[in-house]
Symmetry: C2
Subunit: 302 residues, 2 copies
């Protein structure tokens, strides 16, 4: 799978902010997203808000607008050639419901642009790869631009503005669980969302790729279940290497690491841990689908 | 799919108790399982314990014995013609790991017997249906025989001992969310485990069947995600009716009901709620794979 990088952003570009998952209308999230939008403006970008950005689903309280409305916001932003990037306001839950009502080939239009998000947005990064043949950004949501660590926010900015070149590191300080080197496209995301995408058409296989994984808020046994589903369904078949990111879980860290080691080391490919991406305050942006090189404690663009 | 009912138990039969999921070696679970075994003896059964019943995985603390050892206990009990039923000590997590190391056709031997469990055991009920062509019991685990409500325990006893006949009700007092009648084999279990079985070979499709669903301990959005995966992967395609059991969730009951209604009513088939099965103290035994009739507030054997 060879994916095209969208055009890099330049000063003055228009970008769209959309809520595709959990609502951002509540008093906690709204100021975070508003501050994140201010940050985008400080980068010299012209921010347009999705029509349904500040809505909440009338019946299902954890969602932003109804599925069709969230999908419409995505399609409108994606198909508008004047929009150079689509940034998700936050994660949570809802992208899979959106994908079930998204028209086929809706993402094959628009001329190619960056999609930015992670966590619940994982299957949409995969859909963009499969349907548009495009790389995307696994990185901070707009709400995270308000209170995330600066190094992660700067990594997002530099990736979007085309300042990360071949050979540059996107992750450093990785710890070997099974030492070795590997190259391939970078594919992955949130374990729970990857597992919940099994059986759908929105999951890029890890075959031939470097898989990267993160997760949050699940007990160790639920993480085990998700990894086991990915293993049993064949998602990992042919993977060349694995990068383990942040796992901010309620279970003790030693238990989480035991589960990750138990499930991942059976793959017999290089596994490097301690990647600074995921739900911790430091969430370094990663180019989903880009060719990368893993080894010697570093993940770099190939 | 037409599944054979195993031979009914008679006084003096030998049954095996095995720990296929989370450990029962801790001070909370061990006395529950021991009391449950006493209950089985009070029914006149000769109880044999799996070799690894009281073990805990050396590395992964939420598991009983290692996967291969739990699988060996299952295979030993299942293939022993002197054992008339295999009862799971408790649920939790671990059956999917066990299934990934269980030899093919391991459950096609043994002459046919009851398997009893629910929750984490869900995919094993499905494997028994697919590989042995047998009905099984979705009902109390052995630990639940210590402190579950008597009506549920008695329902298990009467089902195992062949006292439930064609036309008899297995659930009553059901509430219509979408009124109507339907017949078919009874297929289902725990939503999280059904969703986590998508993409594996251990999931009986709901096509032509009456689906029954329960779950525990998940936020509303995780339940939504599981149901959405089942919908998107096609598991519900061709389902004839749905029975909603207990959903003991941390989210407010109104939120849980909103999610269930939102996801299930789109199927356009009869949906009846309030089934007394699942993780509440009253967990009525259900014959997984048996032909049933749903309607007028009752689920009965066809």
């Amino acid at each position: 799978m060879s994916l095209r990088a969208p055009r890099s952003l330049v000063h003055g570009d228009r970008v769209a902010v959309v809520a595709l998952s959990t609502t951002v209308a509540d008093p906690v999230q709204r100021p975070r997203v508003e501050q994140g939008i201010e940050r985008l403006r400080a980068w010299g970008l012209d921010v347009v808000e999705g029509r349904h950005l500040w809505e909440t689903h009338p019946d299902v309280a954890h969602l932003a607008a109804p599925d069709e409305a969230r999908a419409a916001d995505l399609v409108e932003a994606w198909s508008d050639p004047s929009v150079a990037a689509v940034l998700c306001a936050r994660g949570g839950y809802g992208v899979q419901r959106l994908l079930s009502v998204l028209p086929p080939d809706a993402l094959a239009t628009g001329g190619g642009k960056w999609l930015v998000g992670f966590s619940d947005v994982t299957p949409l990064l995969h859909r963009v790869a499969l349907e548009a043949g495009l790389q995307s950004v696994h990185g901070p949501v707009v709400a995270g631009l308000s209170d995330g660590e600066e190094a992660g926010i700067e990594a997002l900015r530099s990736l979007l503005f085309g300042e990360v070149a071949s050979g540059d590191a996107v992750l450093t300080g990785l710890t070997p669980w099974l030492e070795g080197e590997a190259t391939g496209p970078l594919v992955g995301g949130n374990v729970a969302l990857l597992a919940a995408s099994v059986g759908t058409s929105d999951l890029v296989p890890a075959r031939g790729a470097i898989a990267f994984l993160e997760d949050v808020g699940q007990p160790g046994f639920v993480l085990d279940r998700g990894l086991t589903q990915l293993l049993r369904s064949g998602w990992f078949d042919g993977v060349r290497g694995v990068v383990v990111g942040d796992f901010s879980m309620p279970s003790p860290p030693a238990e989480v690491e035991a589960v990750l080691r138990d499930r991942l080391l059976s793959l017999g490919v290089p596994v490097w841990a301690g990647g600074e991406f995921g739900h911790a305050p430091l969430n370094r942006a990663l180019p989903h689908g880009a060719e990368v090189r893993l080894g010697r404690g570093v993940l770099s663009l190939a």
